[in-house]
């Protein structure tokens, strides 16, 4: 079992590269965990990837899985904390300077100018998710009900999602 300090250093470095964007993480972790350190087999790695998609957290929850494999619960904890340190620090720096940045005219108009693109990306996420996961009439009906509930009522989304989960368990 590798010492926790080594784990911390490895995942911190991965976290630094991870800042570049989500899916970079898959080949990177595969290279380090499977090929370099041989902590997991490729099969286990892919299963871990599937498991990480089951949690609400980002893809980087794969760090918990691989860290757990390398060093038990503590290994998972260290891996998770250290992979997220770089991006949290960066966001804090941005948050800290946000109001100063926003007061510079050129930055403000640029930020406002790109907002429609952000909205387009949100809509694209719904589209892509729908394409990969909606298959039957049943699911489109659930989608329509969900849409109506969120659009025209103020019901707490947590309740709606948990309810839908139970419905899914019963239906499948």
């Amino acid at each position: 079992m590798p010492p926790l300090l080594t784990l911390a250093w490895i995942y911190f470095r991965i976290g630094l590269i991870f800042v570049g964007g989500g899916y970079v993480l898959i080949p990177l972790l595969n290279h380090i965990m499977v090929e370099q350190y041989k902590w997991l087999t490729l099969r286990q790695f892919l299963d871990g990837l599937a498991l990480s998609q089951l949690t609400p957290g980002p893809l980087a929850m794969l760090a918990t899985f691989t860290g757990f494999r390398a060093g038990g619960f503590l290994g998972g904890l260290v891996a998770t904390v250290f992979i997220f340190i770089p991006c949290v620090m960066l966001m804090l720096i941005i948050g800290r300077n946000y109001h100063r940045l926003k007061n510079i005219d050129l930055i403000r108009t640029t930020l406002d100018g790109l907002l429609p693109a952000v909205v387009g990306l949100v809509a694209a996420a719904a589209w892509n998710l729908g394409m990969s996961s909606l298959s039957g009439v049943k699911e489109f009906i659930i989608l329509a009900i969900g849409f109506a509930v969120f659009k025209w009522t103020m019901v707490n989304p947590m309740i709606v999602i948990l309810g839908a989960g139970i419905l899914g368990l019963l239906l499948n």
Binding site: S52, R69, I94, G95, Y98, I161
Partner: protein, 185 residues
Amino acid sequence: MAANGKQVTLTEIFLTFAKIGITGFGGGMAIVALVERTCVKEKGWITSEEFLHGLAFGQILGPFSLNVCTFTGHHLRGIRGGIIAATGFILPSFLLMSLLSRLYFTYNKLPQLQAALKGTNPVIIGLILVVAIDMGRKQIKGRNGILMALAAFSATVLVKLNAAWVLLAAAVWALGVSIYRRRHT
């Protein structure tokens, strides 16, 4: 810095984001949609515009679901607020993932979580759609805005471009337009 001027407690920040971290199955945009609904609509902690700015930064800088939580937490209570929001959001996933890892490495098979997710998936898509529509109504003004939203949508859906690149391109374009307008007014 909430709308009513009263300071939000760190405990409330933690509990709010832990709740989002428990129910945000679907990840990514599902989280963004939940944070928008909870922090912008229900609690009025952050304006829709500021939230979208945070999302734009978050998209470019990696795991945007986490980044949006950090940004909102920081907006409320500074560095401590940001760290607490991030921790609250990741903690449920971390505990669930540890449990799943343990089960997996003990029994070597996947637990039957997939069935439940078949039910939550369509609802999450519904939520994201609602957020996209609401944001669009508020933030897209004029023909140029509509064109940019459509361009970003098609670049992601049809060309399968990475979201970070789409946003960088949009930022360069918006910067160009700002400079052009400044020179010509």
